[in-house]
C-alpha cells in the first residue's frame, strides 16, 4: 500500500511533528508576491470530492498548484458513480490514468481506508464520514502554535456535535499525542461516553460553562444536521445551551483563542459577537490550511525514494527549514 495520509490516529508524534514543521515552513510563502514553487512539477493530483466542500477542496487545489503540480478536481455529481459504478471501480479507473495522488472526501467513514487496500496510488483523506479529517487537525495545530508557545499542557475545549465530527476525532488524536488536556462538550446524545476511551487526557462534560472555564483554546464544531439520522436533540434550543457566546469566552483564559473548522452557522453554534471578536482565529485556520496541505502533498507525492531529484526542482529559494519545539 502506497503511503498516503488516511488519519491522525495511526501517525506517531514524530510524523505529526515533521508535518507541522513543514507546514510552518510554508507559512511565509502564502504572503509572498510569487507563491509558486516547482516541487511537484510534472505531478498530477486528483481532488475527488464526493461530498460538497468549498474550503477544503479549494485549499487542496491551491496547495497543489503552489507546489507546481497539475490538479484535477472532480465532484461526485459528475462521475460515473451516478451510473451505478462502484466506488472501487471508479477509483481504479482514475488510478489507471496514473495520477500521483488522490485527495478524497467521502461521506462514508473508512471509504479511503477501504480503497487504500486495493489502489496503487496514495490517498490523502480530505474527510471521511464521521471518522477523520487529518489535514484539518494539522492546520488547527499549526494555528494554535501561531498563538501559543507549545501544545503540551494546554487546555483545549471542543464543543458541539462531537459524535458526528471527523474534525473532533482527528483533533482528539493529534492533541492527545502532544499532551493536551482535552475537554469535550456537547449534549449527551452528541457526546457518547466511549469518547473518553479514544485517547489519553480526555474529559467529557455537558456544560458549556465547565468546558470554557480556564480554556486556552475553544474549538467549536458545526452541528452536522445532514448527518443526524434521527432526533438526537431539540434543534430549537441548541444555541441557548451550546452556542458559544461572549459570556462563555470570558470564562476562558484572557488570551484564549476561538476556532471553528467552518462553515460557521452564526446563531446556531456560535454568536456573531464571538465569531468576529479578537479571540476568533477562524480565518487564520483557513490561511494555514494551504500551508499544511502543501506540507502533506509534498510528503506524500515527492517522496525522495520514489522520485529522483529533478534539475530545477526543490525549494532552495526558501529559507532553511525551521524547527519548532512544542
Amino acid at each position: 500500500m502506497p503511503a498516503g495520509l488516511l488519519g491522525i490516529e495511526e501517525l506517531s508524534r514524530d510524523q505529526i511533528q515533521s508535518l507541522l514543521d513543514r507546514g510552518r515552513f510554508y507559512q511565509p510563502l502564502q504572503t509572498q508576491v510569487v507563491k509558486k514553487l516547482d516541487t511537484l512539477h510534472g505531478k498530477t493530483i486528483v481532488n475527488l470530492f464526493f461530498e460538497p466542500s468549498t474550503r477544503t477542496r479549494i485549499s487542496f487545489e491551491i496547495a497543489a498548484k503552489r507546489l507546481g503540480a497539475d490538479t484535477i478536481s472532480i465532484s461526485a455529481q459528475g462521475t460515473s458513480l451516478s451510473k451505478g459504478e462502484s466506488l472501487l471501480d471508479t477509483l481504479n479507473t482514475l488510478a489507471a490514468m496514473k495520477p500521483d495522488a488522490i485527495v478524497m472526501r467521502h461521506a462514508a467513514s473508512g471509504a479511503p481506508h477501504f480503497l487504500a487496500r486495493y489502489l496503487p496510488i496514495p490517498i490523502i483523506n480530505a474527510g471521511d464520514g464521521t471518522h477523520e479529517h487529518p489535514t484539518q487537525a494539522l492546520l488547527d495545530a499549526v494555528t494554535i502554535l501561531d498563538y501559543k508557545p507549545g501544545l503540551r499542557g494546554l487546555r483545549v475545549a471542543v464543543i458541539g456535535d462531537i459524535a458526528h465530527s471527523r474534525v473532533a476525532r482527528s483533533n482528539i488524536h493529534l492533541l492527545s499525542k502532544f499532551g493536551v488536556d482535552l475537554v469535550l462538550c456537547g449534549p449527551a446524545p452528541l457526546l457518547p461516553a466511549e469518547l473518553s476511551g479514544l485517547a489519553a487526557g480526555i474529559t467529557l462534560t455537558s456544560s458549556i460553562e465547565d468546558a470554557a472555564a480556564g480554556a486556552d483554546v475553544i474549538m467549536m464544531l458545526r452541528v452536522q444536521l445532514e448527518r443526524q439520522h434521527e432526533t438526537t436533540f431539540p434543534k430549537s434550543e441548541y444555541f441557548q445551551f451550546y452556542g458559544l457566546r461572549l459570556e462563555h469566552v470570558r470564562l476562558a483564559r484572557p488570551d484564549a483563542i476561538v476556532m471553528h473548522p467552518g462553515p460557521i452557522n452564526r446563531g446556531r453554534e456560535i454568536s456573531s459577537e464571538v465569531a468576529d471578536s479578537p479571540h476568533s482565529v477562524i480565518l487564520n485556520q483557513v490561511e494555514n490550511g494551504v500551508a499544511v496541505r502543501m506540507a502533506v502533498l509534498e510528503q506524500v507525492v515527492a517522496q525522495p525514494a520514489e522520485a529522483p531529484p529533478q534539475p530545477g526542482a526543490g525549494v532552495s529559494s526558501l529559507p532553511a527549514r525551521m524547527t519548532i519545539t512544542l
Partner: protein, 427 residues
Amino acid sequence: MRSLLIRNGRVIDPAGGLDAARDVLVADGSIAAVAPEIKAPEAEVIDASGLIVAPGFIDMHAHLREPGMEHAETIESGARAAAAGGFTSVCCMPNTIPVNDSATVTSFIVERARRQALVNVFPIGAITKESAGEQLADIGAMKQAGAVAISDDGRPVMNSRVMRRAMEYGRSFGLTVIDHCEDLNLSAGGDLHEGLTSTRLGLRGIPGCSEEIMVARDLLLSQLTGARLHVAHISAKNSLAMVAQARQLGIPVTCEVTPHHFSLADREIVDYDSNFKMKPPLRSCCDVEAVLEAIANGVVDAIATDHAPHTGSSKMQEFENCPFGITGLETALGLALEKLVHTGRISLLHMVKLFTLGPARALGLTRGTLAPGAPGDVTVFSVDREWTFDVNQSQSRSRNSPFHLHQFRGGPVLTIVGGKKAWESQT
C-alpha cells in the same frame, strides 16, 4: 447401498452419554450398531483411529440464498460447504427471493435439495408474509411441505401482537419460533456494536440492548403463549442472563450462539473490513466472555453458523454500504475446538452436543444421535490435525470470512449423510 463400518474411533454420542472406543456400523442409510469390534465383512471399512466419531452435525441457522441470490450461494454449493464443515444437516432461513413464506417455496427448496444437496436441508418458513411483519405466512402449509421452524430472521417481527399470534399459531403445529432479536428502531443505521470501536471508527453503533429488549419481549410472550422460543445468534450479556432465568421459570426457551460471537470481540475488527460486519455485531469483550460462560454453564443449546454468503462485489464497498453477514460453515468446528475445547472451557462431549442433540431438540428433530435406527448421519473429525482455512478454496460460492488464513487445530475429516460419504478431507 454398501454398508460403512467406522472402526477404531472415539465415539461420542451425547444422547446416550457415550464417550468411548467403539465401532459404528451404518447400513441402509441408518445407524445399525455402535459396539466394540463389530464384524461386518461386507461393509466398507473406514479407519477412524485417532479420530472422533460423532452424530452428524446440524446447523440450525444458515442462509443458502436460493432461490433468488444464486450468485452468492445455491442450495448445492451451500450444502457442499456444509458437508466440508462436518455438517450433515442444514436449516435454511427464509430470506430468499421470494421469501419462503408459502408451501410453494418450501417445496422448491425441499425438492432442489433432494436432487442436488450433499446434506439434509431443512427449510425454515417465514413468520409473516414476505417477512414484512404484518400478515402471518402460510405456516401450516409450510410445515406440511417440510418446514421445521418459523422465523423472520433478519427482518424480525417488531409488532408484539403479531409475534404473539405467530407463537400461538406456530405452537398448534408444533413449530418452534426462532427470533433474530433486534429492536430495529434502536439499531437503525448501525454498522458495529456500539462501543469504543464504533466511536473510534466513526461508524454508527448497534447497542447490546437492541437485542436484549427483544429477548425480554419474546420470553414474556413465550410465557404467555406457551410457545417454544428459540433465540437465534444470541450475543449480549443480558440476553443470556434473561434466558437462563427464564428457563428456571419454566419458559420453553432455547438459544444458539455463532462461532464468531464466541471467537471475536469488536476490538479485534480489522478497520473497515466488511468481513467483520454482521448482525448481531461482534460485541464487547465482556459480552464474549458472557457467551463463553453461558456455553460452559449449559445456558446455550446449540452452535449455529448463521452462514451468510455475500458476493465479493457486495462486500467490496464503503463499509456502511456492505451487507451484514459472513460465511461460517467450514470454520465452525475448528473455532469451537479452538475456543471451547482446547481452552478447557467445555468437554468434547459437550461440544458435540452443541452441534447435534442441542439443535435437534430445539427443533424437535429426531436426529443428532447415533442410536440404532437413527438416520445414518455421522461426522468424523480430528481434534489435533493442523490445517489452514483458505477462503479461496471454500466450497461456498462466497468468500466473506474473517478467518481467511486462520490456522486451526482439529477439524472435519469425513462427513457421512444417510449412510453415504458426502465429503472427505483431502489431507
